[in-house]
Amino acid sequence: MKLNSKFTEKKATRDGLGDGLLELGRNPKVVVLCADLEESTKTKAFKQKHPKRFFEAGVAEMNLVGMAAGLALDGYIPFATTFAVFGTGLAYGTVRQSVAINKANVKLACTHAGVTVGEDGETHQMLEDVSLMTGLGITTVVPCDYLEAKRATIAAASWPGSLYLRFGREKTPIITDASTPFKIGEAEIFRDGSDIAIIANGIEVFQALEAAKILKTKGVSARVINCHTLPLDEKTVLKAARACGAIVTAEEHSIHGGLGSTVSRLLAEKAPTPTEFVGTRSFGESGTASQLMERHGLTAPYIARVAALAESRK
């Protein structure tokens, strides 16, 4: 797999949203809706370039989503942007009825997901969004870095139907480059290995790659899969389960109803495999992003420890 192996440059995935939208501006059907967070969600550049296709909803997220649904029903491709906790949590009922049941082509693009929101604390650190959106049958994409976030945003416009795009606030390493394959719905093996497979999404993909390095020093060969989309790329997951015989899932999200739950349901049905879960088990709190990653067991050394546990259960 071709990756940007240096991992030296850092950028937030939310910047990928902003830059992706800017590129999409050429498409006259793309409109952007915002709920008083244009700086944080990085939609300001689009607004400045395409003021007629930018709609401010004010601090009113139910209406943000409802307006997006109305625009979608008449053939526009609306990106409704806000923080994950508001877009998927506060406006859940509107997403459920006016977007999901309505089959409205709304791209719900939310930033500030996960504990890496940091100092703002538990009220702003959304950890249940993937569970909520996949529960509605909305395809969910959790990009692993800035570049993938930008590519996911661009790809979202031509995806047939609603999507949930999940972005983070914190600068994280850029691990892909222009040649890294990306297609919504297809998981990619970022590092090959045969003793254990780490299936991760979002910023946990970087942590998983670092964990694989730690495991290598202990003689354990770890496969790392960037599983950015739910519903799962079942083929890639099942192949990994059969080849490696042990699985660890890693996500900056609750262990209830996210990537880990989805993987383990598939495995229980088709290929029972010892599995361990890296993810949050409580609400967050205030702290720096890296302190919170540590506290919630989302860092590479923790993943490596859990991987060894899964391997020992083979």
Binding site: A57, G58, A60, A69, G70, D74, G93, T94, I101, N102
Partner: protein, 278 residues
């Protein structure tokens, strides 16, 4: 309005009432109080005011109607059937397994159902989005939203009200079913909305009042809204819940209860007596 046209619209309204009672009685479940009170509003919308064509349901320039208070869908389905979107016999599939006429509307533009509704308080937001889309398209099509008084207790309704006014959506007309009834009783006693017109005015809307069970009054208000150049219009339609069935009128019990066989017979009798006189 010409006398002939007025009588035609009245006649259609009473026919819709017959359909509503038949549908809800046949389904042995569902709402007839709200729909009965809205018969004139739907008669005027579908047979007088809106530009639409049942033979071309996907025509891009059609006026749109987004029903927000989904539970009153019996009146929408009856109006769509009588407009020719689907055969009237299909009305009896209402609320049955496999039906296109779900207990609350499920979007199906091919038969004229523009949006899914049931959870109250969302239709106005969707309508605002649709009105923005019409403007981006530089289209003259108009967007109508029918909503209830009860759902004006939802905060989301006022989020949408604020946005419609902020964007000067003069192509949007909201018709509010002001029957003063909700599930727990009379709106004025459950959770007061008054001063209601003043609230909409304060949100920047052009506000009109109409006698909601008078086709001429409703039609006049809708035509007046079309002349407004800079603001969205809210038409507060004063209706009577259960209109036309004496034992249902203004009785909150009939918000969501189906008539039994005997009650349905009496209701249909009252309705056909009126139809004969028209």
């Amino acid at each position: 309005m010409q006398e002939k046209r007025r009588r035609r619209l009245e006649r259609i309204a009473w026919e819709l009432r017959g359909d509503i009672v038949a549908m809800v009685a046949n389904a042995k479940s569902g709402h007839c109080g709200g729909p009965l009170g809205l018969a004139e509003v739907f008669s005027v919308l579908y047979f007088h005011s809106m530009r639409h064509d049942a033979k071309k349901p996907l025509w891009r320039e059609r006026d749109r109607l987004y029903l927000s208070n989904g539970h009153v869908c019996a009146v929408l389905y009856a109006a769509l059937a009588r407009s020719g979107y689907f055969p009237p016999e299909e009305l009896l599939s209402f609320r049955k397994l496999g039906s296109r006429l779900q207990g609350h509307p499920h979007r199906n533009e091919r038969i004229g159902i523009e949006t899914t509704a049931g959870m109250l308080g969302q239709g106005l937001s969707v309508s605002v989005g649709a009105a923005l889309a019409a403007r981006l398209d530089k289209s003259k099509r108009r967007v109508y939203c029918v909503a209830s008084d009860g759902e004006c207790q939802e905060g989301s309704t006022w989020e949408a009200a604020m946005a419609a006014s902020n964007y000067n959506l003069s192509n949007l007309t909201l018709l509010i079913d002001y029957n003063n009834v909700q599930i727990s009783g009379h709106v004025s006693e459950v959770m007061r909305l008054e001063p209601f017109a003043a609230k909409w005015k304060a949100f920047g809307w052009n506000v009109l009042e109409a006698r909601g069970n008078d086709v001429e009054s409703v039609a006049q208000a809708i035509e007046k809204a079309k002349l407004e150049k800079s603001r969205p219009t809210a038409i507060i339609c004063r209706t009577t819940l259960g209109k036309g069935v004496s034992f249902m009128e203004d009785n909150p019990e009939w918000h969501g209860k189906p008539p039994d066989a005997e009650q349905a017979r009496r209701a249909l009798e009252e309705i056909s007596e009126r139809l004969e006189k028209l």
